[in-house]
């Protein structure tokens, strides 16, 4: 076994895993927040994520076509794109809730789940339809911005690109912002109250419907931000891109304890790191017998193990059974 190699790539794998983990964390927030207030899995969240990515790529491509991409500072452009992507995804999430979930309040919990699956199918092909007409293509590529691709080499095997740093910094800022919003503001308190008990919250004068819409807005916006960052980091997107990251983020949310915001962040990071290490090391450690393709098995096995010992996830509190 090649020990210098195994140790040499360690920092790089750690970094790769962190970036992936932050991405998962951002998406997982959408799942976990919706679950917190409505107790159902919002399957359409992966499409909300994709719509964010598509809004981002459309703005960037438009800027590029107008020759404006080189003029403005890439960071400024990215900030604007990020905000608009968040806005679009957030509004879409609110609309989806209004149209497809609100009429189903109080129905057995599998009903909104199926509705969400329906929305997910619908949105996938709707994005494809729009892009097919608009650009006659639905595999779109984020334009390259040279500043973001500058790399700093620290050692032989570790180097960091500007865009990786952007992803990490942006994710951290947003996670911190959300944490502050939920825990330090009145609105956050109201959302938490609705999550705790809708009937009581409404008796306390909280507009439950508005808070639920707000939850979707925030969760959707986080998903949209993740979409833009995903596009910037990995470049190629298509209407079906969201499915796998969505599934993983959902897993991350459960891993951390679904309905729990810090849990989603932790779960995302743990899952991202697990995946990165499994994919990089499995083949090296087993002499090629098992390779990167086993990373999902590895991740899911760990998930099952963790859930056996902590049935409510890593940070999940022991919640009462739903009446």
């Amino acid at each position: 076994m090649d020990f210098p190699l195994l140790i040499g790539i360690f920092p790089q794998v750690l970094l790769d895993g962190l970036i992936l983990g932050f991405m998962y964390a951002l998406i997982a927030l959408g799942y976990t927040m919706v679950y917190g207030v409505l107790e159902f899995i919002n399957f359409a969240h992966s499409e909300i994520f994709v719509v964010g990515a598509f809004v981002g790529v459309e703005i960037l491509l438009t800027l590029q076509a107008a020759g404006l991409l080189e003029i403005f500072s890439p960071f400024l452009v990215l900030l604007v794109v990020l905000l608009l992507g968040m806005l679009a995804s957030g509004l879409l999430a609110v609309t989806v809730e209004r149209v497809a979930y609100r009429p189903l309040r109080g129905a057995p919990r599998l009903i909104p789940l199926i509705s969400a699956i329906g929305v997910s199918f619908f949105l996938q092909d709707a994005v494809r339809l729009v892009e097919s007409i608009w650009r006659n293509a639905f595999n779109l590529v984020y334009p390259t911005m040279d500043t973001l691709n500058i790399r700093y080499s620290f050692t032989e095997t570790l180097d960091v690109s500007v865009k990786s740093l952007v992803v990490i910094v942006a994710s951290l800022l947003m996670l911190w912002g959300l944490h502050a919003l939920v825990n330090r503001t009145k609105i956050g308190k109201a959302i938490r109250a609705v999550a705790e008990d809708q009937a009581t919250a409404s008796l306390m004068g909280i507009n439950v419907n508005r808070m639920i819409s707000l939850t979707f807005l925030i969760g959707g916006a986080m998903g949209g931000a993740a979409g833009v960052l995903f596009g910037v980091q990995y470049s190629l997107i298509n209407p079906y891109t969201g499915f796998i990251p969505g599934l993983k983020a959902f897993t991350a949310a459960v891993l951390g304890g679904i309905g729990n915001i810090p849990g989603a962040m932790l779960g995302g990071l743990v899952l991202g790191l697990l995946e990165a290490f499994a994919a990089s090391y499995l083949s090296l450690l087993t002499g090629g017998a098992f390779g990167a393709e086993y990373k999902d098995i590895f991740a899911f096995s760990i998930l099952i193990l963790i859930l056996i010992f902590r049935p409510k996830g890593l940070l999940g509190e022991v919640v009462r059974e739903r009446a």
Partner: protein, 426 residues
């Protein structure tokens, strides 16, 4: 008007028999008309609603499915293929209905058990097993298919227990994600176990898989019928599927009203209360998993024999979601619901949406114009064939909003929802 007709036995019987006859005749007259076939399917559905003596209903159902359908199917083989796939999905939906509908355990990886069954026969019913054990003893003789049908049940049930054991403590959506993971694990394993030892041949898949022997071949010859395998096999497979579906329905109905079935429903409604009433949670949950899985295992065996070739592409997460949609669309916990849900989704997917696309294509080729605008100018981006999933998604959402209890809800669930609707706020 139809409702009042159907509620009176004599006119109902006459109406249903007449409809079955007319539509079957229509299919034989317009073998390519999907609408004729759909009307035929609709009249079988009508049979279910018609009120008539149970023996007569049974007789008519047997006649429609056992005689008319094969006749229709031999006129147009496509319909038989649809009927076989409908049967396969009906059995799957009934199996999942036990886990999700009765016991209330959300399973998002149900297709894993289907895969387990399919691979059980695929490996031993093809030369693939030689890769594992060496030599050239395999495939086993085709007659072993029937042994493997039982074996598939056993293996899948064991897999169900295997999955059930570690996750018994989990509730609701934690369980959902673990089953989802399990489904993915099985698929990824099937996709990757071509090394270090070649079990599944990876993405390249396994072929040729033996089909069950035509044991009634001499009988057919004695009757003076030349058994052309191209005609006989689809019919044979159709009757096998029918048999499995029949057994599944029988078991489902017996189980539903047994103490086990009641225990499952008790767990679904309130786990803590059920436990307090002395329902053994662990055993009952494991039984639900095993029971649901076993049906999938049996159809899996049949599926691999029907396809002659399998690879992991047939066992994706989307298939699990599809079966789940069938159960919920039909009405959770309801046997007729699961059957109808599976039928509707399969027919919608394989027949209606496809038929619509083909129909539009024909209109285009025929040069039809709408308000002076030629259909042939429709840009390729807008072709309906590409948006079948979008239509399906829309149908799912609309169904859930306007008929959340499913098409044919279980009676108990129906009452529950009405009560929930009567309450102002949850």
């Amino acid at each position: 008007m139809i409702t009042s007709l159907l509620s009176r036995p004599v006119p109902a019987t006459i109406l249903v028999i007449a409809l079955l006859g007319i539509t079957a005749y229509a299919v034989s007259h317009f073998p390519r008309s999907i609408v004729a076939f759909m009307l035929f399917q609709a009249s079988i559905l009508l049979l279910y609603f018609a009120s008539m003596p149970a023996w007569l209903k049974g007789l008519l159902t047997a006649g429609a499915l056992g005689v008319l359908m094969p006749v229709v199917g031999s006129i147009n083989g496509y319909y038989l293929e649809i009927a076989i796939q409908v049967g396969i999905f009906v059995a799957l939906a009934l199996g999942l209905n036990i886990v999700v509908g009765l016991a209330g355990l959300l399973d998002l990886g149900y297709v894993a058990f289907f895969a387990v069954g399919a691979y059980t026969w695929a490996i031993f019913g093809s030369p693939q097993a030689n890769q594992i054990f060496g030599g050239s003893a395999f495939p086993v003789p085709p007659a072993w298919f029937f042994v493997f049908l039982l074996l598939g049940v056993g293996v899948a049930a064991s897999a169900g227990i295997l999955l059930g054991l570690p996750v018994l403590r989990l509730h609701g959506d934690y369980l959902a994600i673990v089953t989802l993971g399990f489904g993915e694990v099985i698929r990824v394993l099937a996709n990757n176990l071509d090394k270090p030892i070649n079990f599944t041949n990876g993405p390249k898949g396994i072929t040729p898989i033996s089909r069950p022997p035509i044991f009634f071949d001499p009988a057919l010859r004695a009757l003076g019928i030349d058994p052309n395998p191209n005609v006989v096999y689809p019919l044979y497979l159709y009757f096998l599927v029918l048999l499995i579906v029949g057994v599944t329905i029988l078991v489902n109905r017996r189980v539903e009203d047994s103490h086990v079935g009641r225990a499952w429903e008790a767990i679904r409604e309130d786990q803590t209360a059920a436990q307090a009433m002395g329902v053994p949670l662990v055993r009952m949950k494991l039984m639900a998993f095993a029971c649901g899985a076993s049906f999938a295992g049996a159809v899996g065996v049949l599926f691999s024999a029907k396809q002659v070739f399998i690879n992991p592409e047939s066992f994706t997460f989307m298939e699990s979601i599809g079966v789940l949609a069938m159960v919920i669309l039909g009405g959770m916990g309801s046997i007729p619901g699961a059957i109808l849900g599976a039928t509707v989704v399969t027919v919608l997917n394989l027949q209606v949406l496809k038929g619509l696309s083909l129909w539009l294509n024909e209109l285009r080729n025929a040069g039809v114009t709408i308000f002076g605008w030629s259909l042939a100018n429709l840009p390729t981006q807008l072709e309906p064939a590409k948006y079948e999933r979008m239509v399906f998604g829309l149908i799912l959402v609309l169904m859930m909003i306007f008929r959340p209890q499913g098409i044919l809800p279980a009676q108990r669930r129906h009452r529950e929802l009405r009560d929930a609707a009567a309450r102002p706020e949850n």
